[in-house]
Assembly symmetry: C2
Homo-oligomer: 377 residues x 2
DNA sequence: CTGTTTTATTCATAACCTGAACAAATGATC
DNA sequence: GATCATTTGTTCAGGTTATGAATAAAACAG
């Protein structure tokens, strides 16, 4: 970003920006563009010199822990992706200490094999209600324990600051960071995949509820006596829309094999979608019911929060064509048209690896703030 | 509030507060307490001298427009209540121009008979989705028209700035202004009365959705084929809990007379509640079903927003004893216990006249900002 | 009457941002 | 290719705002 643009974003005069950036450049925190790329073409005037964060300020590891998978990503302080990989590893039946040992070991091994010796912080996205201030997983559908002090546990093992975030919030953050339109006003990101989660942002900042967590919108009960959900309740939004729910119901319809690793693979889900597209009426009904629930869910969001943007994202968007007719019918039937019209609905195809991007971005931001604090001292 | 307290609230040093308040005292905007009230008792040290807004800076009229009633209140710039009254007047079948004529006439008459010649602004609370920035009623369950430019229409007639707010938001604001606990964290105020509305506050500031309106939570559909709602939909929260809904169903049970003025009076509602308390099983069931819906509604709020405080307010709290058993059962059955435990639930008995207090407070605040702008210029 | 406690004020100072003028770097034009 | 227009970035003096430290003021305690 060039100095003028920074000024416009912050509502500051160019003079101030120049002043502040000069000292940051001196300290090596920022680096100026090598310029002379020319080929700028038709713009008159002195060309902008963009400023970047130096890439030598340390790197950050972003981690997503799923039901049976760990996604890892290494990013340097300039925001460039340095390495990423994922590991199949069931985490379901581990005790608290064991879980943290496995995570710490995996992260250390990943950093080493990526040749990163300057890891400054670790960002972790996980399912459930996360106390983002104290780094505690207050409740999770996949962990047996509750009030798990994940940040301090990993911090003790790795000796680095740990940032924890709900996975849907992390994805919502990544998506809004990529699309500046979504950073103005209120944006509700509904992530459909392994589960259903909501990340809600006001003017680009993640909404925080009590204990500084996000939302457990996926476990809102839509149908009093609906299907079983893994949270223990019945009729939750998730119990219709999550991969595990769709696969469970598909198994009853056509006796396909149960997933080998507890949760269905992407291939297994694709196969359900393909067969439904090919015309299998029972599977088609499955997606019709899911679409209806999605419409009801978005309807609740509109009537309650009246967001400017609603984003439907996550692997579940793979079946959006099958969901759409019943989704739109349900949405229209339950919202006041004048209010419905105020919300723009976006479908963003995104896989789970966007999650690590989200937590990395947040961890980098925290790092920046730390830098600011260091400089102040 | 004393200077020290102002400093604590604003996170400023006493020196700065002293400096700023001195100039405001000079200009006559603030007035210092006459002190020497003594009787302070056990506190050592120099006694605080509280500062108040002068009462000579003009007054504000707060108005609530209901289905068949107009509530009015006159408050001076010191925040003291000067006059209030209410008028029975059906507003339902008026056209836009006619409605604004009636309102303007009523407000002028009220100000005159109260001897207020220094009315500086008017705050108006009304049902429906209100664009608080442009002063437009985008949608309302009681008005035929949509996108009614109420603020500019009344502004033209009265020649004064008009502030419009959703009625539930106005009541929520008044309640949080009275109880400082509710101004920290996130507070969801569910107002049950003529209709059902939600005012949601984050750190004491009203949440604004798209077009700067609030929430139409009362028209979230809880039951797919539930009872008819006045919004045109079916199974809305309001269609179970609002006075008109309870009275409509009570009429079917015991053939009581229809309300004379479209909406049931407080007496009529009291009589239903009394008979249910006395043991009428069908009426008792009515409140049981309503309590269940209230529990589901609060459950959605907890799972979606995870507020620190939930306030149930409005005339509907008159039957809280009847609602409570099914309310708590429904709430517990649909929320994750760990999340349920994070929200404190308060029941605040409040009648509709608290609404005018809410809009007056907001209008006064706007006036203060205007003052600040004037001083700056 | 002196000491303690809390509130409020004074004042020099530091931090921060800004407008205005100016320098720099490019495209456009004749 | 010299000059002008246009946009970016810098320098600098000055204004606003908040602050810490010292001090005064107003009460109670013993």
């Amino acid at each position: 970003m060039a100095r003028v643009e920074i000024g416009q974003h912050l509502g500051m005069s160019p003079a101030s920006v120049s002043d502040l950036t000069a000292s940051l450049l001196d300290e090596g925190i920022l680096v100026a563009e090598e310029a002379a790329d020319s080929a700028s073409g038709l713009i008159r005037g002195r060309p902008k010199t963009r400023l970047y964060f130096a890439e030598t300020l340390g790197s950050v590891v972003g981690v997503w822990t799923g039901f049976n998978r760990i996604e890892l990503r290494l990013v340097d302080s300039a925001g460039r992706n340095r390495a990423s990989r994922h590991i199949e590893r069931p985490l379901r039946n581990l005790g608290a200490e064991e879980l943290m040992d496995v995570l710490a070991g995996t992260i250390t091994a990943f950093a080493e094999e990526s040749g990163a010796h300057d890891v400054k912080a670790i960002g972790l996205a996980c399912q459930g209600y996360v106390d983002t201030k104290d780094g505690i997983v207050a409740w999770s559908p996949v962990l047996g324990t509750r009030d798990l002090p994940l940040a301090s546990g990993l911090g003790d093992r790795l000796g680095k600051p740990i940032l924890i975030e709900n996975d849907a919030s992390a994805m919502a953050f990544a998506i809004t960071q990529r699309n500046s339109d979504l950073r103005s006003g209120r944006t509700a990101c509904l992530m459909v995949g392994d589960g259903v989660g909501l990340g809600f942002l006001i003017q680009g900042e993640l909404y925080r509820g009590a204990r500084f967590g996000g939302s457990e919108f996926g476990h809102v009960r839509l149908r009093r006596s609906g299907p079983q959900c893994r949270c223990g309740g019945r009729g939750c939004i998730e119990a219709y829309l999550a991969d595990y729910a769709l696969h469970r119901d598909a198994q009853l319809i056509d006796h396909r094999p149960a997933p080998t690793l507890l949760l269905p693979s992407e291939d297994a889900m694709e196969s359900i979608v393909e067969q439904a597209r090919a015309g299998d009426p029972a599977l088609h009904n499955l997606f019709q019911a899911a679409g209806e629930v999605l419409g009801d869910a978005v309807g609740i969001l509109i009537q309650t929060l009246e967001p400017d943007h609603i984003v439907i994202c996550g692997p579940g968007t793979r079946a959006m064509d099958l969901l759409r007719p019943s989704f739109e019918a349900a949405l229209d039937s339950q919202t006041i048209p004048e209010l419905r019209a105020l919300a723009a609905i976006h479908v963003v195809e995104s896989s789970m690896d966007l999650l690590t991007e989200g937590v990395v971005m947040q961890a980098l931001r925290e790092l920046d703030l730390d830098l600011a604090r260091l400089r102040a001292a």
